[in-house]
């Protein structure tokens, strides 16, 4: 039975395996693995996992039984092989409707009764198109093949069972179950379990840049509890069996367990897995066992190739193609009916060939013949041309220096190849905030601890100086910026020096940093570790420093017992706060000298460690072992009492808040006071006790420790002291997963609370005044977006308690930070701290700071034991592991004690306000969708000038649907009222809004909850109406899902072109939903980039991307398509007119070769050049006048009427082109081909010159191509007419062209035809350029006369726009115009 199943599996897998071989196909349905070995798998065999044994060694048999179905490590990303290329490529190409149509035409020509040309001639266009595409595909595929070959043949050392040693093998020979040994800087060939690392702690670092572009190092851990760790790894000792899940594409998830021979199971997770294509760093040697190979690796499964979207223009184009089809149908029908009637009227003529077919049937045949003759009307090469043109456009976008980021050495990435012109039509822009508008370089700005706010004035000044610095530099030169080194407080003077050096050294600020980092850190060039200098150099708050310093030197407090001395409780808060900042993270520490190291040797502490432990035990607190367990302390405690109490608690390991708050009641009354007042109050009230504590402390320590008394230095000195200290730490580099973490670690470092190193089990931390401490790390509960917080569980170095430090979003922490049970005054203190902290939080948010709350919890040993069991269980489970872990984490993170909160500044990226302003002027509505809170979002919106001071904010925040409905209605009324009052005073100010951004508008601010209601079916139309009345919309507190819902709502309901820009994983759904998704490759990894159509590195690039490239691409493509259609209609109509003179019989007056090649060869390159190189306006103008974007936005270049004008012009030209020769030769002895010769020649001239008229710019490339095109035609027909003696019947051209071109009449006719045909278009263009372009259609032509005059024109245009929209009248009424002109200039 089992075997039967297995056979089924094999079959299915073979099938799927083949299907999955296709290029980049997601191999979801990969082989499910059933173990055959009865003894190897006693438990239930799930279809969702795979079993891996060592390939060599004792389990060889098991291995062979199990691993047959596993893919080898060879990869093949090519679509085709040599054999399958032609059939598969043809198959794919015939998926296109256009190709099918032409195949149909070709087949039609094989039907004898309707045959129009020789069979081979009609095949040419199709063949050419197929061959061109096939060559393109083949080249692409060949490149992939070469790449695959290179990758497959890379070598790696693999353990060989026979030789019992590691031998060099090629990547493609690596199999699942192999042991692979890698050295530093080698690339990982397959997904491997890390079994051995030369690092004594069993960790290894990998750089995942190849995978996701993140350059910071990630730590990987050897599978725990391997008995062999520590020794050189030997295979004989490895007898384990690995069970893990089947291959999937989730990079950050790996679950499984390893079963040792004894039956012991060890959980495996993502931390144990080395991913293919990552690079080993900082680790000498690692050994891993391959679990997934080849296409089953996570890296390969994530490889999804470029994206294909359909652009708006192509959809429009399709309707026009349909019109062309209709036109073709009408023409063919006309011919069919005409032929029938003509035949019907003929009675036995001499020239009759076929008398048997009835006129009706002959008419029917002619219909099909005409389809073949007029096939060119449906432009087969248009689709190919569009593809080529888009490639060219992409090439130019990709090569734009303005879209190149020097710091990251990254260009723009164009991931979607076929929506370039959509960039020119964006109407709504949805932007993420963090990392998109802002740098996502977090800088610690201020904090609040124990309810006391530390404003960090100097720090603020430093940041301001930095900003000013930046702006100043920006003013001097747009591209050159000088950074403030900010090493000391004299930032300004330093920067002055810097700006005085030659421009050569003035480079972009962060680049400088990067360079410096690189210099100092040669091992990891381009490591982007959130270590910008501005983030590193936090200037400490003097007040806080003093308090900390007091802690370092207790005698200070003893002697100076006056105001400002903190209570011991406050001190523990402060210390815990900074300890939490330093350790509650996943930061990797390294220093340039010693690379990334774990825990270095602890330095000799400044003070005896024991004493500090003692003190901390005394001072530490726990909410649940509150005072209630103890007898009420002596309230009006004397120093002596207090000391005794401290000692008593120290002994029992329990503790109480050390405040004996006799005077708390009155504090309670005053809790509404300003924080500073309150602080003073507190300080005063605690002075006595604090002094006591200090005294106690001092008595214990003063003998041993005399050198750590900075005595009465003033604050400045202290700060300098701190600076010195931090200078010694200068070498430390922090690499964090999120920039917030780095900012906080740097902030802690500024207070001499320095994270020196980390390993899996411990952390080395410097504490001010204490020195290096080793903190035993018990657990890290990593950040996840559900919990919105992260925690570390450590054994406190001083108290020895198990302590949980939690850091997270304020909303979450504030809810969890519960007021402890117990004594009244304790509760009062806590609630007071909470209130104060909340006040500070709100203040921070108003300032636009990102807030994080820090909390702690002391866990009883027994409680910890209980929790630990659950946690281990969760960790080792394979199924539902995430859920269990989440649950476990939540179990621990309760009853937190709030320590304080931090405010982090996230600076705006450079030129964001300018970009947003430009986009708004371009008529793009900018929406901000952010997960941040309302105040922060509004603040950022102000900062980036999305909001102007005279804008009116409409805030929508409500709890239920009905309220929401009412609110939306109300706001709508308000907007209407506002609009009315706005427009009344300026009667003609209809256009005011679009032409200038200064007019006050409405800004809708909506929060996530309200958005939930607003997005519902009943309310969404109201919401949309409201938002349409607003200048901008800010959605705060929105989830990723909501973001994408908003985009979808706007896109679908308003039918507008949307663009979403974001940088993080939370923006992915939004980016995918929008018509154009732009990813910012920033600090948060590459998920956004991977899902985007275009990836840029700065927000400011958007303006050039949209305003210049978007607009150009759209204009180019639209004009090219119009030109293409014009060309075809014009040429095909020549043939059609001839039908009126040949009895609608489907005759042509041209040689069939010339006819086919005319479109395919002689006139095919100029439109391509036109589509790639034409510049409808200079880039500078487009950047300076974003208003011009609106022309594209409303798709006026390719509006239906433009299409019809083009078609009409084509009709006119073809009429001229046919009937001038007709009248010139009527009644003469002209032969068929002689008649066609001047028609063809003048058609070619007309078509080429038409492009010259339509082109906005002509470069030598244009001229060359045009000349070559013309020459190729004349060359071809001349050669053809000389050498084609019996070929190509019935239109044998021998002697025709040579004779024709030797006669003056030919040139006379051509000249007349060409001039007459082009005259109207030329006149139209000239009139447009002479008169003021009245409509958007022609505004594209305005710039012909140079930017200087152009600007004048624009002023005029704006003026007249703002006066009234009667510009068309101006054209007819010249009197109006000069007045406007003089007014403007």
């Amino acid at each position: 039975m089992e075997r039967l199943h297995w056979v089924q599996h094999r079959c299915r897998q073979l099938l799927e395996g083949n299907a999955g071989r296709g290029w980049y196909s997601a191999t979801d349905g990969l082989p499910t693995k059933t173990s055959l070995d009865a003894h190897s798998s006693p438990q239930r065999v799930s279809g969702k996992r795979r079993t891996v044994f060592a390939r060599h060694g004792p389990h060889q048999q098991d291995y062979e039984a199990v691993s047959k179905s596993y893919q080898s490590n060879a990869i093949r990303t090519t679509k085709y092989s040599l054999l399958t290329f032609i059939p598969m490529n043809l198959f794919q190409q015939f998926h296109r409707a256009a190709n099918l149509y032409f195949l149909f035409v070709v087949l039609l020509n094989w039907v004898p009764v309707v045959e129009a040309f020789q069979k081979e001639i009609t095949m040419i266009p199709l063949l050419v198109v197929l061959v061109v595409i096939a060559i393109k595909d083949a080249l692409e595929d060949y490149r992939r093949y070469l790449f695959d070959k290179k990758v497959n043949n890379s070598v790696v050392r693999v353990f060989c069972g026979k030789q019992n040693a590691y031998i060099v093998q090629r990547w493609k020979d690596v199999r699942v179950g192999d042991f692979v040994r890698l050295s530093c800087n080698e690339i990982i060939p397959a997904d491997m379990l890390l079994l051995y690392s030369s690092d004594p702690r069993g960790v290894c670092y990998i750089e995942t840049a190849n995978l996701d572009g993140e350059t910071n190092l990630k730590q990987r851990q050897v599978v725990s509890d391997l008995p062999l760790q520590g020794r050189e790894f030997s295979l004989e000792s490895f007898r384990g069996r690995v069970e893990c899940e089947n291959p999937n594409n989730e990079l950050s998830r790996f679950r499984g367990y390893m079963e040792h021979p004894g039956g012991v199971r060890v959980g495996l997770h993502n931390n144990n897995l080395l991913l293919r294509s990552c690079t080993i760093r900082n680790t000498e040697t690692v050994v891993g066992m391959v679990v997934y190979a080849g296409h089953e690796t996570k890296a390969m499964m994530n490889n999804s190739g470029p994206r294909y979207k359909r652009s708006q223009l192509e959809k429009l184009l399709n309707t026009d193609i349909l019109w062309c089809v209709l036109l073709l149908f009408i023409m063919c029908l006309t011919a069919a009916v005409g032929h029938g009637l003509w035949l019907n009227n003929l009675k036995d003529p001499v020239f009759q060939v076929d008398t048997e077919t009835s006129p009706a049937l002959a008419g029917f045949y002619v219909f099909w013949t005409m389809i073949i003759v007029l096939q060119v009307l449906i432009p087969i090469s248009l689709y190919v041309s569009i593809e080529i043109v888009k490639l060219g456009q992409i090439y130019f976008i990709h090569n734009d220096l303005d879209l190149y980021n020097k710091q990251l050495d990254s260009r723009i990435q164009c991931r979607a190849l076929n929506i370039t012109e959509d960039l020119g039509q964006i109407q709504y822009l949805f932007s993420d905030k963090t990392g998109t508008l802002t740098e996502n370089k977090m800088v610690f700005r201020r904090c609040s601890i124990y309810g006391v706010e530390y404003p960090h004035e100097e720090n603020a000044r430093r940041l301001e100086v930095y900003e000013a610095e930046k702006n100043e530099e920006a003013g001097r030169s747009l591209t050159l910026k000088s950074g403030c080194s900010g090493k000391s407080l004299s930032c300004r003077s330093l920067s002055c020096q810097r700006s005085s050096v030659s421009l050569h050294t003035l480079t972009a600020e962060s680049q400088e940093e990067e360079e410096e980092e690189q210099l100092s850190n040669p091992i990891h060039p381009r490591t982007n570790a959130f270590c910008s200098r501005v983030a590193k150099d936090v200037v400490p708050d003097p007040e806080l420093v003093r308090k900390l310093n007091w802690f370092c030197s207790p005698e200070l407090a003893l002697r100076d017992g006056s105001s400002g001395t903190p209570s011991s409780l406050e001190l523990t808060y402060i210390t815990d706060f900074f300890l939490a900042l330093a350790i509650c993270n996943s930061v990797v520490v390294s220093s340039p000298s010693q690379a990334r190291h774990g825990v270095p040797e602890a330095r000799t502490p400044l003070k005896s460690l024991e004493e500090f432990k003692l003190m901390f035990q005394r001072l530490s607190f726990s909410p649940f072992t509150a005072l209630s367990t103890l007898p009420p302390p002596q309230m009006k405690g004397s120093p002596l009492n207090f000391t005794r109490r401290l000692f008593a608690r120290g002994k029992t390991g329990t503790f109480t808040p050390t405040n004996s708050a006799t005077d708390w009641p009155h504090l309670d009354q005053e809790s509404h006071l300003e924080p500073t007042n309150l602080k003073r109050e507190q300080d005063l009230s605690f002075t006595a006790e604090g002094g006591d504590a200090g005294q106690t402390e001092h008595r214990d320590t003063e003998n041993e420790d005399a050198k750590t008394s900075p005595a009465r230095q003033d604050v400045e000195d202290l700060i300098r002291d701190l600076d010195c200290e931090s200078d010694t730490n200068e070498g430390l580099l922090y690499e964090a997963e999120s920039p917030d973490e780095a900012a906080l670690v740097h902030a802690a470092q500024a207070y001499r609370c320095t994270l020196r190193g980390r390993s899996a089990e411990s952390l080395l931390v410097d504490l001010p005044g204490i020195g290096s401490l080793t903190v035993q790390l018990l657990h890290i509960l990593p950040f996840d977006s559900n919990r919105k917080k992260m925690s570390v569980v450590v054994r406190h170095p001083l108290t020895g308690h198990v302590v949980v430090y939690t850091k997270g979003a304020d909303s979450v922490i504030m809810d969890l930070a519960e007021t402890p049970q117990g004594a009244e005054q304790t509760q009062e203190i806590y609630s007071h701290i909470r209130e104060q902290t909340q006040i500070h939080l709100d203040g921070y948010a108003r300032e636009g700071l990102r807030t994080l709350c820090i909390a702690k919890k002391v866990v009883e040993e027994e409680e910890y034991e209980v929790w630990l069991k659950g946690q281990l269980l969760a960790e080792s489970s394979i199924e539902n592991r995430e859920e269990l872990l989440l649950e476990s984490a939540q179990r621990l993170e309760t009853n937190l004690t709030l320590l304080g909160t931090t405010g982090i500044v996230d600076r705006l990226q450079e030129e964001v306000p300018e970009t947003i302003e430009a986009l708004q002027r371009a008529g793009i509505k900018v929406w901000i969708l952010t997960g941040d809170k309302q105040e922060t979002a509004i603040n950022i919106a102000y900062a980036c000038k999305l909001l102007s001071p005279n804008d009116q904010l409409l805030t929508a925040s409500c709890g239920s649907r009905d309220v929401c409905a009412a609110l939306l209605e109300e706001l709508k009324v308000e907007v209407q009222r506002g609009k009315a009052s706005l427009t009344e005073p300026t009667a003609a100010g209809n256009h005011g809004e679009s032409s200038s951004g200064s007019v006050a508008g409405f800004i809708l601010v909506i929060d996530g909850r309200t958005l939930e209601w607003a997005l519902q079916e009943e309310l969404k139309s109201q919401f949309l109406e409201l938002s349409q009345g607003c200048k901008a919309v800010i959605c705060c507190r929105s989830t990723p899902l909501q973001k994408s819902q908003v985009v979808r709502l706007v896109r679908d309901q308003l039918g507008v072109m949307t663009l979403a820009v974001g940088d993080g994983a939370n923006d992915v759904s939004m980016i995918q939903m929008a018509d154009v998704g732009v990813g910012i490759s920033g600090q948060e990894g590459m998920q956004a980039v991977m899902s985007s159509d275009f990836a840029i590195s700065r927000f400011k690039h958007l303006s050039k991307l949209l305003l210049v490239h978007g607009s150009s691409c759209y204009s180019r493509l639209a004009n090219m398509i119009l030109y293409f259609i014009y060309k075809n209609v014009m040429y095909v109509n020549l043939l059609f007119w001839y039908q009126f003179f040949c009895g609608f019989s489907g005759s042509v007056m041209t040689n069939a070769w010339v006819l086919i090649l005319f479109n395919l060869l002689f006139t095919s390159v100029p439109p391509l050049i036109y589509g790639v190189l034409d510049q409808h306006m200079p880039a500078d103008t487009l950047m300076e006048r974003p208003e011009l974007y609106q022309v594209m936005q409303s798709s006026k270049v390719y509006a239906p009427y433009v299409f019809w004008i083009t078609v009409l012009d084509a009709f006119y030209q073809s009429l001229v082109c046919f009937f001038v020769p007709y009248f010139a030769f009527a009644g003469s002895s002209i032969g068929v081909l002689s008649f066609g010769s001047p028609i063809n020649a003048s058609a070619l001239l007309i078509i080429l010159l038409h492009q010259v008229i339509e082109s906005h710019t002509l470069t030598w490339i244009h001229v060359l191509v045009l000349v070559l095109s013309g020459a190729s035609y004349f060359g071809f027909v001349l050669v053809f007419s000389v050498f084609c003696v019996t070929c190509s019947p019935p239109t044998n051209p021998v002697g025709v062209e040579t004779l024709e071109m030797s006669q003056p009449l030919f040139y006379i006719v051509c000249a007349l035809t060409t001039v007459t045909a082009l005259l109207p278009r030329l006149l139209f263009r000239v009139l447009c350029n002479t008169l003021h372009p009245p409509a958007a259609l022609t505004s594209a032509q305005m710039d012909k006369v140079g930017s200087e005059r152009y600007r004048k024109k624009m002023q005029c245009w704006n003026l007249s726009l703002s006066r009234s929209n009667t510009l068309p009248v101006c054209v007819d009424n010249p009197g109006l115009e000069p007045g406007t002109d003089s007014g403007a200039s």
Partner: protein, 334 residues
């Protein structure tokens, strides 16, 4: 330095091409540039137009319809009967002498030599003298490839079959004396047709090549006997045959029949027509044309007029533009 370059490996090339800064000429189609251009074009066109018009006027053309539809026309009697040879005389007088070489054309109306099925109905290889195709003519000739006895027709196809077979003789009437006006039939076909495209089979006696073939159904004589007076003017390189085989582009056309090298002096003439070709069934007309030619070909007043009209329009438009330009542009440019 090397390091720096490596770091900026992704930096795009800063060339005029990649940065789209190629020096470009913007076709400044503003009135200021275009007005002089228009004036120039207009004047040139008017000049050409005048020249064409004058030339065209100087060409003399005599045209006579001899279909015989009307009762009083000389060939009326030939239309009714089905006699194989009917001769009629067309009398006319030349008032002003036609100087230079006079071209004598026959013309057909409503005759669609460009009808698609008609125009494919020939065998180029056969006409190139390839005797293989004498035995099995191309299918394109169908139904004129074999006669009812399955004998191959040479030359096959409808074009050859429908060859114009009226013949003309022109007499100068001097009182009662009728002098035959000599016709020149040499070189009336295209040089390429005569020398390259059409060839007789390279067999000693042309007649032998046509063994086992039959003449086209409508023909009176086989191809090798088309011109009894000149043995070299037979077969596929017979000048009249070549002229006929070059299909006319339009349904009303004329074809060169002969040249009269000495011109037509004033006087009375009589054209003797051997009336064979039936056109009435499809409502066609037959005519003869005497014309001399100029450098621009035959008489055609359309071209001259068109040039004059377009040229004047250009000049007119440039004046209009000048006015518009003066009104709109000059204030702004100050």
């Amino acid at each position: 330095m090397v390091k720096e370059e490596q770091e900026l490996a992704n930096r795009p090339d800063n060339t005029a091409f990649t940065q789209q800064r190629l020096p470009a000429w913007q076709p400044m189609l503003s009135a200021g540039i275009v007005i002089p251009g228009f004036v120039l074009i207009g004047l040139a066109f008017i000049g050409i137009g005048v020249a064409l018009f004058v030339t065209s006027r100087s060409i003399q053309v005599l045209e006579f319809d001899y279909t015989g539809v009307e009762q009083n026309s000389p060939c009326f009697n030939c239309t009714g009967q089905k006699v194989s040879t009917c001769v009629c005389n067309l009398d006319f007088s030349v008032d002003s002498p036609i100087t230079g070489t006079v071209f004598f054309y026959y013309g057909l109306s409503n005759f669609f030599q460009n009808f698609r099925k008609y125009s494919v109905s020939k065998d180029d290889s056969q006409l190139y003298g390839d005797t293989d195709y004498f035995k099995s003519p191309s299918v394109t000739c169908s139904p004129y490839d074999y006669d009812s006895n399955k004998q191959p027709i040479v030359p096959c196809g409808s074009i050859a079959n429908s060859m114009f077979n009226d013949t003309f003789k022109l007499f100068n009437i001097n009182g009662t004396k009728a002098d035959l006006v000599p016709f020149d039939g040499k070189g009336i076909a295209w040089w390429t047709d005569y020398n390259i495209k059409y060839k007789n089979p390279s067999i000693e006696l042309l007649k032998n090549a046509f063994n086992n073939t039959v003449k086209p159904i409508f023909w009176f004589k086989p191809a090798y006997e088309l011109d009894t007076s000149d043995p070299d003017n037979n077969g596929f390189i017979n000048q009249d045959f070549l002229v006929w085989m070059r299909r006319a582009a339009l349904p009303n056309f004329r074809k060169l029949y002969r040249r009269i090298n000495k011109g037509l002096p004033r006087g009375n003439y009589s054209l003797e027509i051997a009336y064979n070709y039936p056109v009435l069934s499809f409502n066609g007309r037959k005519k003869v044309v005497f014309s001399n030619v100029s450098w621009m070909g035959g008489r055609n007043e359309f071209l001259g007029l068109a040039y004059l009209v377009i040229g004047s329009m250009c000049v007119f438009m440039s004046i209009v533009m000048l006015i518009v330009y003066a009104k709109f542009k000059f204030p702004e440019e100050d």
